[in-house]
Symmetry: C2
Subunit: 324 residues, 2 copies
């Protein structure tokens, strides 16, 4: 969490003239979002989030992300909506960076989700999958299985610096995943990063989901696997089957998973562990000088991977197929 | 600017039960304030700033700072006001740190103040000096002249690492300041850190001043000198006499400086330069590992010091004593 780019009051006042939002009331850099600089912006028209897109987000992907938020909001999902400029464009330029203003969403993320939070997160993920149907733009998942080997190659020589045997664990698992990865499960637009940070709750109800900057087209059940990893492990890295059952039940209340999707959950969870293990490993080994963000521990995802390797069938995630 | 301490949603919800502010709507860590962790807090009752006091602020000083804000707000200054808990206390404890909730102030700070901003800042400083009269608590200025030599001793051996000759410049100046420092000018409660960051403007009017965590008792004209340094030099470190004239005029419209205060401005400006030069020099030479804050360049204040050394009389700050 950081503000990478500082902006001056007069730059923002000038920028606001392109919008119908009235005059600037206040502007605070906020510690939210790892990839971009975010500001809480208040104007005559209310509260908004102003985002400057930093170099980790590809500028060519921004129309996909912004149009997706618009589409999802139009189709009933509670998520930020891009604010159009007077000329209709959502994507602007400020302080030398691509920029956008999106609506402000009330609510707070929970640091330690309880069972009910997991259920609501599952439902929201399913609601996003349904709301995304009919969205015309596509964006390939550039962090999916076919990309993992190349990503690992960047860190392979140093993986054992993080923990002994990590390189071997990843190499063996990559071979397994390449041989076992499903191809024909139901697909559409995924959030692909629905961690507790990105889900807001207000008075014990889910009030919205944010941060669509990893969204892409892939198998829906892979998004469920990412969520299971993000929501259903305890701080000591142990798996909480009660939370997993709640998350899967919440998902299925809104979008029923097929038997094939259920059956592939273990391999998808292994893949979801691999994806975050590989990016965290790379970030861990390549902290830029003067970094404002402390890299996340890759070992957390190595532990999740090992757990899923021990799972013989999807029923171990608390799913009772007969009860559906 | 940084958020040093992360707080969980449930800790904040629990903490809020001590207040009459209703339920939590949102909480965003904000990149404001170098010394503390600040959060923009929204509840049923509106918007507030939640501050966790980190170790650079002495806990024993917090009642002074919070009571001062209360006193100044009661006496007509637009500044944040501490929100009392149900039991009447302003100072709480959250995430293991002293904490307070203060009212939110609309407005934005200006990165490049213009003449009119300087005039308004001068008036606000004078208004604070007047509003502070009658405030019963006192806090000595522990960054004033008698403390500079001890502060310099911590960096003296390495000062020339920053720029050749800096150690000698400071040593000579310290001897001058110790011999020339005034003692009997009008005194009271100073802001002591009224940089442009700490002054908010809204629709071209000053909307409030913030950050009283350096406030202390000392000579009023020394606060004016701190402001002249903070507001009236250009990014290339050159002195802008038009801005200085505006700042001093704005100050005098609200509180008339005495002839003795005017006459001492050059030495007070030299002292104000020394105070920031010494703290920046120390911070520059002692960046903690993993620091989130980039230290400010001490050379900027060495340049201000050299400028003020060249000033023969206060009239060079644009002050026309005959026109008062």
């Amino acid at each position: 969490m950081a503000v990478y780019t500082d902006i001056a009051d007069d730059e923002v006042a000038e920028y606001l003239r392109r919008y119908d939002l009235g005059e600037l009331h206040s502007l605070k850099g906020i510690a939210e979002g790892v990839e971009n600089s975010n500001f809480l912006l208040a104007t005559d028209a209310g509260q908004f989030i102003l985002t400057l897109y930093e170099k980790r987000v590809a500028e060519a992907d921004l129309p996909f992300f912004l149009s997706l938020m618009e589409h999802l909001a139009d189709h009933g999902l509670t998520c930020p909506r891009p604010v159009a400029m007077r000329d209709g464009a959502a994507l602007g330029r400020l302080a030398g960076r691509p920029s956008a203003i999106i609506t402000f969403l009330d609510g707070v993320s929970v640091r330690r989700p309880k069972k009910d939070h997991c259920r609501m997160a599952g439902s929201a993920l399913a609601a996003m999958h349904l709301a995304g149907q009919g969205f015309e733009l596509t964006r390939p998942n550039n962090l999916s299985m076919p990309h993992w080997r190349a990503l690992f190659d960047k860190s392979a020589g140093r993986a054992d610096e993080v923990s002994a045997g990590l390189g071997g664990l990843i190499a063996d698992e990559l071979a397994f995943l390449e041989a076992s990865w499903p191809a024909d499960l139901p697909a559409g637009v995924l959030h692909a990063d629905l961690f507790p940070d990105n889900v807001f709750f207000l008075k014990n109800e889910l009030s919205g989901i944010i941060d669509f900057y990893f969204a892409c087209n892939d198998m829906f059940a892979y998004d469920v696997a990412i969520c299971l990893n993000a929501w259903c492990f305890e701080p000591d890295w142990s798996f909480n089957v009660t939370k997993a059952r709640a998350l899967l039940a919440g998902y299925n209340e809104v979008r029923a998973m097929s038997e094939a999707e259920f059956a592939h959950l273990p391999v998808l969870c292994r893949g979801a562990s691999m994806r975050f293990l590989l990016t965290r490993l790379y970030d861990w080994l390549n902290v830029p000088p003067g970094a404002l963000v402390v890299p996340k521990d890759p070992a957390e995802y190595a532990a999740r991977l090992k757990f899923h390797q021990s799972v013989a069938a999807a029923t171990e995630y608390g799913v009772d197929m007969n009860a559906r």
